[in-house]
Subunit: 252 residues, 4 copies
């Protein structure tokens, strides 16, 4: 059984800030958002976690092995370097979707995302060190078969993007509804999914569902570890096996 610790990072009162006293330049907002994402990737990645940009003002992270003190330090480090602060909600569950639900609730209970008086919440349940096992996190790394040959080198880049995007939209919805998994586009033709303990049949099934709905062909490598970093790297190696052997689903 997996046991995923999920942390939701939410920028405090961000929407109002972006238009106060009048709309801020988009280039600065984009720079702020992408750098905050890069910094959180490093702050959490250096502690073996994974960060997904999601909507940028709300980022979903997998934080097995990262305790409350480390969360407080990450929160402080953001406040020391940015004009905005972040709230952190944490949840733990065999189902990543349930864990994120708890993490979200932990923040929502503190007030609205657009409540100016709600700042730097740090709340929720952490996975205790004694409850951790070597199988706590399962990560699946999907990519599109021959995306370069079929799309990037052939089509208008936006039409390539539409194919990739529709593939992602189908996959993220299917994996959420059928398999309690959280799937994130991570650039190029890559999607990383945080999953409960799924087997080969479920992944085969998801690949077929996406193919039927939007005609995009996927393959997937799956890894398992006590941290997101370990599971994710194992998944990448498994995906290389797919590439080498022409298979659709490989477990590390």
């Amino acid at each position: 059984m997996t046991n995923t610790q999920v942390t939701l990072v939410q920028i405090d009162n961000y929407g109002p800030w972006t238009v106060t006293p009048e709309p801020r330049r988009e280039v600065d907002l984009q720079t702020l958002q992408s750098r905050l994402y890069a910094d959180l990737s490093q702050l959490i990645g250096n502690r073996e976690g994974y960060t997904f940009f999601t909507r940028f003002d709300n980022m979903v992270t997998v934080t097995n092995g990262i305790d409350r003190d480390a969360h407080a330090l990450i929160q402080e480090s953001v406040a020391n370097r940015y004009p905005v602060t972040v709230s952190l909600g944490v949840g733990v569950d065999p189902s990543p979707a349930v864990a994120l639900g708890e993490a979200t609730a932990a923040i929502q209970e503190g007030g609205s995302a657009q409540d100016a008086s709600r700042q730097e919440i740090l709340s929720g349940e952490f996975l205790s060190e004694s409850d951790r096992t070597d199988d706590d996190v399962q990560i699946a790394h999907f990519d599109v078969n021959d995306a370069t040959g079929k799309y990037t080198d052939q089509l208008n880049e936006f039409d390539t993007f539409i194919h990739i995007e529709q593939g992602y939209a189908a996959l993220m919805r299917y994996m959420r509804e059928q398999h309690d998994s959280l799937s994130f586009f991570v650039g190029g033709d890559n999607v990383i999914a945080v999953c409960p303990s799924l087997g080969e049949a479920e992944y085969q099934d998801a690949i077929e569902a996406v193919h039927e709905r939007v005609e995009v062909e996927l393959k997937v490598g799956v890894g398992r570890h006590r941290t997101a970093q370990g599971a994710g790297m194992a998944a990448k190696h498994a995906l290389e096996t797919c590439r080498d052997d022409g298979t659709d689903v490989e477990f590390a």
Copy 2:
């Protein structure tokens, strides 16, 4: 009539690089990608252009007023600071989709995105200074009505994300197919579209189409200027008018 100059930025041979000699750590790839995006946002934004992250390994930018020399300097600046290089293809057309088609072709003619010997292409057509007008770029800035109240403060963040994402997927496809426009998610509940010369009816129509298909309610501010920056800022102010007056479509 609009006349949009679009530049496609493509990282050279990026896919193979990410797995050579073996898969690189995801946290480093994410950091590299998001910082390259932030840097291009600044390099292009300081020259009044707009940069969209798109797939991160391929980024679409609007570059009216940025000439060949400035493109060469941006290309050199990336090579001086990153372990990867970028190719730049440029196109100009009243239709942003056609302009991007030309920009993509300019790169594709130089070789595959995964051809190790193809490096730092700089090719395509630039809008000459004498042909520029004050109406060359039309930008539409969409957001979701009361996203915080209806989604962010109520749902599991992933379910909020699914709503936003499905709204975006429907909008980007509709605007591409019906109105030759390029629409990009830019974080939160915001989508920025680069458009030809569209009127209020077309935007009203797009908002209704998205509502019918995925039940997400949008509003939009529209701006026009000789640069992306000018058009985009006007669009933001128009969107504020929507917010203040409860309207769906406003032109600056």
Copy 3:
């Protein structure tokens, strides 16, 4: 005759901020300072100017060709991305030291560097476009003869650093006192000086003075242009000529 426009960038009320409510983590302060420096380097460098880190909370920049509006935009861009704001003072004079004096006074007149109510001053004199010439900026790029062979590859790195540092300390003082020039260490064994219209004799003289005082042997390339960027790049090429020909002073 040169005519250098110098802008002093001063972080507002920074000292108190670093210890309020209690001392902030040094790693965050260092990250904030070095990134602000990198961002200003880019914001000013993309407009052909040069930025020197100086004391990090006070940075000296050469801004010929960068007008008041561009200064306001740079100031706004910092405020949009950092937890601190900056004041900008500007001065113009044939003597870089006098220009910096005016720039400093423009800020000092607005209040103390540690006055919490003094924020985002933008004040001083700008070089008007009609007064600009192709000779306005003179830059000298010094380095240490065979620093790698004599120091880096031989000594404890701190002892190498002491040699470089004492050479810099002697040079910056001599150039300030004798030649109204502002000299900045820029890493490695490199010093860049912003100078009035000096000739070969003055540079030969400075090199000898440093050699006598601290036994560090320098060479220098000198360039001249209407912008810092142009003069600095010419100086680098002249320094390459020194390297190739074994000479001490070269003008581009």
Copy 4:
């Protein structure tokens, strides 16, 4: 007794790279250097270490508690994100100067700093976990008495900088020669010194020596811990005590 683990970070073959095939734009070099410093600050700081920019192409870091694997990961992370690679030499000794000597030698033995074939050395002695104690690192944090009132708010910024710089030059030399300590300017009017086990008399003595030589008045807070981060934060709090009580030397 202290037991400091020092790591020297040296960019491989950097000098030649900066001028190949011809001199690279200074703004890009400065951006590269300062961001590499910021990234190392975070990579090492997240593991409780301290990073000093020194000459930027050679950076001195205090790495107690950071083992060989973490060093390898930091080295890999730099290679994944920059156009340059770094070598790491490590040394351990009660005297920080001796430890840095060993760290430097570990790199020098692998070849010259300008040897194109020498890449990513990782060599030297690490402090084993079992040998670590709570007193291994001693950090002293100096600043200048009333620097804002006496200098920043009164003088031309370059003349302020000369005072601070001459104070630093005197202090770093004295502490190296008399007390085997490594002192680094960290911005503003602050100097951080990595020391062996010194007492109040030695610091009083250093403050007097600097005052005699260059008339700059310093005060200092001193901290001790098993990591640089812990010792440095304790030193900052001790320095606050100096500020509050008007004393010259305080131990945490």
